[in-house]
């Protein structure tokens, strides 16, 4: 009976609609925040930052973004990679055009630019529904990648066609460029993720979140009730792209440092983020974290087991990874369409009663 809600009464509607209504969860949340901000930065080294923590944090932002669009508003998008590329290139152009402005502002602006692009590609969603729309978002994916490849202005006419992040500082610490220390990379991503997650949570528990979900569950009824479908869908596209753009900017500037667009933001990236959302749980912020963690950890774990432990060739392990990820996707859609988040919820419900069966 460690985990319980008995005796945890609410006396106001404010308290009833808070993020963690159960006290045990609230304590858990603050403990995790304390560890994330107070302990990990002092222990992290380059391997842990680059292999696990930084990609996890960035993918979590992207997954939250896609989850808003797909999980909350019901619009499946296969253009995530393209939108991440918009964030990355916007950030690059801003960084090189205005070197004196803080990188934090650049990343946020990159998110804003991606939001505008995302909303533009979201316009057809008013007429096109379901997988028609999913295929239509492929237009965004392929067009945007082509654009960043073919128009030299976007990569400042560099000979390689790549973009690479110049060194920028936040409070005296380098956060981009070759000399960035692991804790700095980790912390800037963590701060962005924390803020993004809070914003996402606030939006999804309020009016706008309910109009998204109404559109997702039954768009015609939603419209008759008073949801403006244009506004609901476009805000979903914009907010989603805002987060995805931030993720793209961080992915380029902080994580990779240098980017070739087709490689870093190809259609595989769109699928990867979509899989995170499915495995983690459609329509759950927590699920976005769980899905991102799972798909970041899985290749690392497979590599440790397959390559380091068993001595298998890397390409074999990579193929096995495809099989496992594909099978997991189908497994989750069959067994638990609400993903890891639902499994966690069920575990909590069991824990509530434990050790008694009823």
């Amino acid at each position: 009976m460690l985990y319980r809600e008995a005796g945890d009464f609410k006396t106001s509607y404010e308290a009833d609609s808070q993020t963690f209504p159960i006290r045990f969860d609230r304590i858990g949340f603050w403990v995790i925040m304390a560890i994330a901000f107070g302990v990990i930065p002092f222990m992290i080294n380059d391997y842990w930052a680059n292999a696990i923590f930084v990609p996890f944090l960035i993918y979590a932002i992207a997954a939250i973004g896609l989850n808003i669009l797909t999980g909350y508003c019901g619009q499946v998008s296969l253009g995530t990679g393209g939108f991440m590329a918009v964030g990355a290139y916007a950030c690059y152009k801003l960084m090189t055009s205005f070197p004196d402005v803080s990188i934090i502002i650049h990343v946020i602006l990159a998110g804003g630019i991606t939001a505008v692009v995302g909303a533009a590609f979201g316009l057809p969603s008013l007429r096109i529904k379901g997988f028609y729309l999913a295929v239509a978002t492929l237009a965004a994916q392929f067009f945007l990648i082509w654009l960043f490849n073919k128009v030299p202005w976007f990569y400042n006419y560099s000979a390689s066609g790549q973009i690479s992040a110049p060194e920028r500082f936040v409070g005296g610490f380098a956060v981009t460029g070759a000399n960035t220390a692991a804790p700095a990379k980790y912390l800037i991503c963590l701060v962005f993720l924390t803020v993004c997650a809070l914003i996402a949570r606030n939006l999804t528990r309020g009016t706008i979140g309910r109009s998204w979900m109404a559109i997702r569950d039954m768009d015609i009824a939603a419209e008759i009730i008073g949801v403006n479908p244009l506004k609901a869908k476009l805000t979903a596209f914009a907010v989603s792209s805002f987060f995805i753009g931030i993720a793209g900017a961080l992915f380029f500037a902080v994580y990779l440092g240098a980017v070739e667009v087709g490689e870093a933001f190809g259609i595989q990236k769109s699928f990867l983020v979509l899989f995170m959302v499915i495995i983690g749980g459609l329509g759950s912020i927590f699920g976005s974290f769980a899905g991102a963690a799972f798909l970041v950890l899985l290749p690392v774990a497979l590599k440790v087991i397959g390559v380091d432990l068993l001595g298998w060739p890397t390409d074999l392990v990579a193929h096995l990874q495809l099989v496992i990820v594909g099978a997991l996707i189908m497994f989750f859609l069959i067994k638990e369409p609400h993903g890891l988040a639902q499994l966690w919820r069920l575990t909590k419900e069991k824990l509530r009663l434990w050790p008694f069966p009823y």
Partner: protein, 272 residues
Amino acid sequence: MLDSVEPYVTADGRTIGGVLMDMRGITLRFGGVEAIKNISFDIREGEIRAIIGPNGAGKSSMLNVISGFYHPQEGEVWFRGEKRAAMKPYQVARLGIARTFQNIALFEGMTVLDNIMTGRLTHMKTGMLSQALWYGRAQAEEVANREVVERIIDFLEIQAIRKTPVGRLPYGLKKRVELARALAAEPKLLLLDEPMAGMNVEEKEDMSRFILDVNDEFGTTIALIEHDMGVVMDISDRVVVMDYGRKIGDGTPDEVRGNQEVIDAYLGVAHD
């Protein structure tokens, strides 16, 4: 007496006011099929107005015209003394017209509370930025609207299922939640599309009581489609009868009951 627009008081003490909604010469076509042929009728403030007719008579299409989902090729819709321009359904909702659906159209993935809160959408005004911050305006608005919703939850006696996802509820309760969602908008005109379809006698009695209470306590004008003649004749003030897209009768339940054309088209067939 009913043809005048003077307010009057019914036998059970409710005041019926002037004309709230006036449908003038509505014709609706799908391709070559005329679903509604030149129909006119009005709905007066505070009354319970029933639309009846056999299957395929065009009743639901008529409701869809009122709620702005279908746009008639001919005719005018007047609401509160003004001609209503061609509007999108969500704009109609903002005028204060709410409805329920024949096949329940709840948001299955959301809780009962969230469903009903969605019904308050037309009353919620805070922008996206303050919602993103939550504390302050957004929270205050949320709490104020939650209080309204909680009153409706009490009224319809669904307190116990507040936090239950709608997908898990039985049919009868879903119908009640749908009514709650429509009421949450505090509509001037409430449209009910077969509110008692598929219910047993007990549930029908409950639903009739709720409809009468809504009309009585909140003074909401109600237009409803229903197949159960007993219920229709009991609770409605005036009845429109449709058949094959035409209007074949209009008046009090007693007048309609005596109308030969209505008996031929509908009641006679149904009861012989």
